[in-house]
Each structure stands twice: as structure tokens, then as C-alpha cells.
């Protein structure tokens, strides 16, 4: 094309003069093509879909938040559906002050943090053993991992309680774990009240240490798939450089799998945070010393007193709102943590390269 003129401007720059098509033409080509139309339609479709589903997911939470600032007069008013006419913070105030929120927050936080840390570490160890070492029985151990994933926890509710209540039932002499736990129970004098370990936090930690906590099978499975994707050459070179397997694990494997470990940790932490299964088995005694998040989900006394004079419909609607407020308060710390860590979740799983 003779219209293009190239001239050297400096040593590294050249300048090209050419006759551009007029702006109108260029815009026409860009915006009136079928490709552009297709793209626009696709983007609109995708955005509408995403926003719609986002709305479906968020709607219950939005509804809860909006009704958490309603007062009783809003419940009586038929014209109020979502937006309150008399906003108050009564519900928050009563739940916070009368349901021991601070104490529940502290205990739940400490317990969830420690349990989640233990579970993450133990699951990583077991998963690493399953993923990277060939030994007889590897597949049997893995089958048991899947089994623990498949048996619903409710199935073992009674026997779990019985196990930690009185360990003698399970053949102390032959079973290494009850062999350790039984003297401990005697030592603490825990049989005296008839609850054994069942009224302490010990069962939670024992289950976590042995990789049997809530959904630990899933964690082991996820981590195993992740470790399978880690190239063997890393360990081989570490071995040649004289590192033991444990040292390789802690100083090479753990650092490179931080995103995945954070994912598992978040799951473990939040599932322990909202747990109402283990805390209801093990700490079910009425005057138990521990207050957990699940104890917050109750109608505070002063609200119950307030509702005595109201009709059945109104009082049940209002106490549902109070429960909703309680669940906001339970979820709030999790949401805050999630906002900061969610990028890591996706990152961790994306890097895992889970292959069936």
C-alpha cells in the first residue's frame, strides 16, 4: 500500500503515517457486526443471570437484615413488607445483652480456631500419606475415608455419646485409644457425674486429632487430590538433598499448599462455628459451663415478656424475626472473615487441579 509511510523518528521509535478510515466507518465496522451483536447479547444474558441468582442467594439475608430493625408495630402494620416504618435496634440489643453473645463469641471463636487448626493439620498429614506413598492398604485406608464421608453423623450420635461417656464399654484392653482415654477419665474423676468426657470439650479434640471430625473425610479427599498434583520431583530433589519425609512435608509441601490449606481451614472453621451437632451431644448438660453460638438462637426473656399480650400470629412472626436477627449475629463474624479470605478459597481450589 502506497499510503503507508514509515519514517524513523529516533533510534528505537518509528512513526507510521497512513490514511485511516473515517471514524464513522470504523465505528460501523466495530458495532454493526454480527460478532459484536452476539457478544452484547451474551454479556447481557450472562449479567442478568448472574445478578438474578445473586439476588436469589442474597434475598434471605437481605430480608433478615431488613426485618431485624423492625419493631412490633411494623409486624402489626399490614402495609409493611420489607422496609420498616419505625426502625429500632431493640432486637440486636436484647439478643446481645440477654443471650450472652460476648461469651458465646469468645468460646466459639477459641474452640473453632483450635479445632480447625488441628483438623487442617491432621487432614493434611493423612492426605499426604495417602497421595504420595504407595503401601499395602493405601486403598483400604482411602475407602475408610470415603466411608466416614458417607455415613451421616446422626447415625453415630448415640454411640458417640456412649463412647465418650463411659469408655469401658469398648474393650479397654484391646483398644489403644480407650486404653489412653480410660485412665484419663479416672484421673479427672469424670465418672463421678455420670457424664464422663461427654460433658467436656475433650471429645471434639479427640475426634479432630484422629481425623474424624465433621466432614473431615471431605478435607482429606480434597487435600489428597491436591497433593497428587504436586510434582514428585520436588520430594525427590529434597530427598537427594538429605531431607527426611517429615521435614520435606513441613518445609516444602506445606508452604506450597497454603492456599488449599486456607480453604480447608475456612471450611473447618465455619462448620465448627455453626455446629449444632457435636455441641449438642457433648455439651448438652443443662448447666454446662460452655456457652456456644447455638445458645444465642433463642428468644430473649424480655422479648418473650413483651409478646405475652400479643396475638399468636404476631408473636410468632416477631419471634421469627428475632431468630433471624440472632442468625445474623451468628453469621456476622463469618461473613467478615469470608470477605477477607474468599479470594483464597477460589485460588486454593483452582490450584488444586482435582482430577477424579
Amino acid at each position: 500500500m502506497d499510503t503507508v509511510k514509515v519514517k524513523r523518528e529516533s533510534k528505537k521509535k518509528i512513526k507510521v503515517d497512513f490514511e485511516r478510515a473515517p471514524l464513522k466507518e470504523r465505528l460501523k465496522q466495530k458495532f454493526l457486526s454480527a460478532n459484536f451483536l452476539y457478544k452484547v447479547v451474551f454479556v447481557i444474558f450472562r449479567t442478568v443471570l448472574l445478578i438474578g441468582i445473586t439476588f436469589i442467594i442474597l434475598y434471605p439475608y437481605i430480608k433478615k437484615i431488613l426485618s431485624s430493625i423492625m419493631s412490633i408495630s411494623d409486624v402489626k402494620d399490614a402495609t409493611v413488607i420489607l422496609i420498616t416504618k419505625n426502625p429500632t435496634i431493640d432486637q440486636y440489643w436484647f439478643v446481645l445483652s440477654e443471650n450472652n453473645y460476648i461469651q458465646a463469641f469468645l468460646t466459639t471463636f477459641l474452640v473453632s480456631l483450635s479445632v480447625a487448626l488441628i483438623q487442617t493439620l491432621v487432614c493434611a498429614l493423612v492426605a499426604y500419606g495417602l497421595a504420595k506413598f504407595k503401601f499395602k492398604g493405601n486403598s483400604i485406608v482411602f475407602a475408610f475415608v470415603i466411608l466416614t464421608l458417607m455415613v451421616p453423623q446422626e447415625a453415630l450420635k448415640n454411640s458417640m455419646d456412649a463412647f465418650f461417656r463411659q469408655i469401658t464399654m469398648f474393650e479397654t484392653t484391646l483398644n489403644p485409644i480407650s486404653f489412653i482415654l480410660k485412665p484419663l477419665q479416672d484421673w479427672f474423676g469424670m465418672f463421678e457425674n455420670g457424664y464422663g468426657f461427654s460433658d467436656s470439650l475433650i471429645p471434639l479434640y479427640v475426634l479432630s486429632i484422629f481425623g474424624l471430625g465433621f466432614k473431615n473425610g471431605l478435607f482429606i479427599f480434597m487435600l489428597r487430590q491436591f497433593f497428587k498434583g504436586v510434582p514428585d520431583e520436588l520430594e525427590e530433589s529434597a530427598f537427594v538433598d538429605g531431607s527426611s519425609t517429615l521435614r520435606t512435608f513441613f518445609s516444602i509441601i506445606i508452604p506450597i499448599s497454603i492456599p488449599m490449606l486456607i480453604t480447608v481451614f475456612i471450611f473447618a472453621f465455619s462448620w465448627q462455628w455453626t455446629d449444632d451437632f457435636y455441641t449438642s451431644i457433648f455439651l448438652a448438660r443443662e448447666n454446662s459451663a460452655f456457652v456456644f453460638m447455638k445458645h444465642i438462637a433463642a428468644t430473649p426473656e424480655s422479648i418473650a415478656a413483651m409478646l405475652k399480650n400479643e396475638t399468636q400470629n404476631i408473636s410468632s412472626a416477631y419471634s421469627a424475626m428475632v431468630l433471624g436477627t440472632a442468625s445474623i449475629l451468628i453469621a456476622l463474624p463469618l461473613i467478615v472473615a469470608y470477605v477477607f479470605l474468599q479470594r483464597r478459597i477460589v485460588e486454593g481450589v483452582e490450584r488444586s487441579g482435582i482430577v477424579g
Partner: protein, 376 residues
């Protein structure tokens, strides 16, 4: 008082438990032996550089301590050593299974054979008779629940695959959408779920009477009437299922489907990320459209993940606390009328066996379609 009784009469079922324990003794031995190895990080240091030459020194150093794994070279081979480390890493879980999990499972199964009087002396099949024959409540509930799940499992798997593909594309606000989509994994569990169920039950009590005759379910996104209008020409019916009902129930359960597909979405996303971009590139060069690329590349490459997700969804839905069977079994009463731990155990173990059968069937069905990329 119960417990004292139990210890004395344990003999009847002792055989099975001791079997497990003897196995454990066998499994435990290598671990005790390995412990010193693990605690001496310097030792492999010495022998590391040239493994073949170092075998002799190791022989003298370790000697007879390794009897269970002695090979013909009279030292621990590299494979043997790796096996030991493998056992060492898995030891917490293996111990937990043998020491805690299996005893609990056995106890739970044992309870189901005790009969209604809680008699420890003899085997009774009362609970199982109740489960299968009494008034059919258990069987009908399980069949109903399975009917529900037949619809929901494909819905969840397809939905999560679809959303994973969309969330995998580059676009503005992707981080936000991802965060929102995975929110239910964190939040729709445990107490928060239980509170939601409680609130739902309360609101249904209030409004249930009003909407009963219109056939519109309150709170649902659409009613069956809307769908009927839309699909008036296509009135497909297969047995009892009509297309209208299926569509309505799926759309009205959309929150449940969305909130149950978080983990599946994560798994699919990771699968999509692991497909090498060069395959897509070459596809584009050959002139394949996005549609063709999906069916010819993405779907086959992601099919192992579909298998994993299908099985995970089956397990997740069957063991969910809001599942009809689990609700009926909860609190021992429900399905059987009388509060008895034996009935509960019998019911739940029969149910678990059924779930296993379903999983095997799903896995076998999926195996025929799954494509594994060869990795050499």
C-alpha cells in the same frame, strides 16, 4: 446401669470387635518401629547422596529393628521405607478408625439387633421387621425421598457445571459473583440452617391456610399456574410426573439447589482450570465454535469431575439433615411411632446401605461416559 450390663454381656458380639482389634495390632506394629526413623532427620542425610552405596551402612545401623519389612538385601529398601512413611502419615486416621470409628459403628449396629425391650442377651430382628414390614412408612418415605433426589441430583450437577463455566470467564465483578456463589457453603450449615428451617416452618403455619385453594405455594418464585400457561401446548406426562410439576418444583427449589451446589462449583472450577489452554487455542485455530468446543473439549475433559460431583451430590443430599428420611429418623420417633434407639439404628443403617447401592449405580452409569486423559 445400662453400661455395666453391657460390659458383661458383650461376649455375644465380641467376635466381630476382637477381629477388628487384632487387625489393628498388626497395623500398629510398623508404626512403633518407624518412630525412631522419623525422629532422626540426620539419618537420611547420611545415606542420601548415593543410595546404592549407602545400603550397607544402613544395614549395620538399623539391624534387626526392621524385621517386618526386611527384604532380601537385609536392609529396608526405598520402597519399604516409603511404605513406612506412608503408614506414619496415615497413622492418626488409621488409629482413629480402629479405635473410635469402627467401635462406634459396631455399637450402633449392635443396638439395632437388641429388640424393643433393649434385651442384650439375644439377637432380635424386631427393629428390622418394623423397618420393612410394619406399615410401610419407612419404605414409602425412602422411595419418596429418592424420587425427589432423582430430579435434584442432575439439576445440581448441571447447574453447578453451568455456573462454573460462567464464573470461569473473564468479566468485571467476577470476584464479587464468586464470593456470593460460595457464600452458602459457609453460611447454610448447622445452626443457621436450623434457624432458617424454624423460621420457614413458622411462616408456613401462618400463611398456609390462605393460599391453599389457589394451588400457589406462598413464597415460591412461581406457581404451577404460570408454568401451565407457558407450557400449555406441551403437556408431557410420564406416569405421575408431569412436566409442569417438575419445572415448578425445580424453580421453587432454586435456593436449595443454588445453596447446595457450592462445593460442586468449586470442584468444577478447579477442573476447568486444569484444562490446558493450548487445547482451546488449537481448537480456535481449526475454526471450532464455542458450542463445539464445549461439547468436544470441555465436557470430555471435565467428565471425571462430573463423576466426582455426582457422587458427592448423592452423599450430600442423602445425608442432609433436611432430607425427609433423616427428618423422620431424627428423634427416634417419626417414622416408627415408638421412640427406640434400636429402630433408629436399624432404619439408618438400612438407609445407608441403600445410599451405597445408589452410589454404586450412579458410579457405574457414569463410568461408561467418563473420559480419562492419559497422563504418561
Amino acid at each position: 446401669m445400662k453400661n455395666a450390663n453391657e460390659t458383661q454381656n458383650k461376649v455375644t458380639l465380641g467376635s466381630s470387635t476382637t477381629g477388628a482389634s487384632t487387625q489393628k495390632v498388626y497395623l500398629a506394629t510398623p508404626k512403633k518401629v518407624t518412630k525412631p526413623v522419623a525422629k532422626q532427620p540426620q539419618e537420611p542425610l547420611e545415606e542420601a547422596p548415593v543410595v546404592a552405596e549407602q545400603v550397607k551402612t544402613k544395614e549395620t545401623a538399623e539391624g534387626p529393628a526392621y524385621t517386618p519389612y526386611v527384604s532380601k538385601k537385609k536392609g529396608l529398601s526405598l520402597t519399604g521405607k516409603k511404605a513406612l512413611s506412608g503408614w506414619l502419615f496415615c497413622m492418626p486416621f488409621v488409629l482413629g478408625i480402629i479405635g473410635i470409628y469402627l467401635p462406634m459403628v459396631i455399637k450402633s449396629i449392635e443396638v439395632s439387633f437388641r429388640g424393643s425391650k433393649g434385651n442384650y442377651d439375644y439377637l432380635s430382628f424386631d427393629a428390622y421387621k418394623l423397618v420393612f414390614f410394619d406399615d410401610g412408612r419407612f419404605t414409602t418415605t425412602v422411595l419418596d425421598a429418592m424420587g425427589d433426589l432423582v430430579l435434584q441430583i442432575p439439576a445440581i450437577v448441571i447447574f453447578s457445571l453451568f455456573m462454573a463455566i460462567i464464573l470461569n470467564q473473564k468479566m468485571t465483578g467476577r470476584t464479587f459473583f464468586r464470593a456470593v456463589f460460595f457464600l452458602p457453603v459457609i453460611l447454610s450449615t448447622g445452626i443457621i440452617d436450623a434457624i432458617d428451617a424454624q423460621i420457614d416452618a413458622g411462616s408456613m403455619e401462618e400463611s398456609g391456610a390462605i393460599d391453599d385453594n389457589t394451588g400457589a405455594s406462598d413464597g415460591g418464585l412461581i406457581s404451577s399456574l404460570d408454568v401451565e400457561m407457558l407450557l400449555s401446548n406441551v403437556n408431557l406426562k410420564i406416569g405421575e410426573f408431569s412436566l409442569v410439576e417438575v419445572v415448578t418444583s425445580l424453580i421453587n427449589n432454586i435456593f436449595k439447589i443454588v445453596s447446595r451446589s457450592g462445593v460442586q462449583m468449586l470442584i468444577f472450577l478447579s477442573g476447568l482450570q486444569s484444562i490446558s489452554p493450548s487445547i482451546y487455542e488449537s481448537c480456535q485455530m481449526e475454526g471450532a465454535t464455542a458450542w463445539e468446543t464445549f461439547w468436544k473439549i470441555t465436557l470430555p475433559m471435565i467428565s471425571p469431575m462430573i463423576l466426582v460431583n455426582a457422587i458427592y451430590t448423592v452423599v450430600d443430599l442423602f445425608t442432609a439433615a433436611d432430607n425427609r428420611v433423616m427428618q423422620g429418623l431424627g428423634g427416634y420417633g417419626g417414622l416408627f411411632g415408638s421412640a427406640n434407639p434400636g429402630n433408629f439404628s436399624a432404619g439408618i443403617w438400612v438407609y445407608i446401605l441403600l445410599v451405597l447401592v445408589v452410589i454404586v449405580v450412579v458410579a457405574l452409569l457414569m463410568k461408561t461416559v467418563v473420559f480419562y486423559q492419559r497422563r504418561d
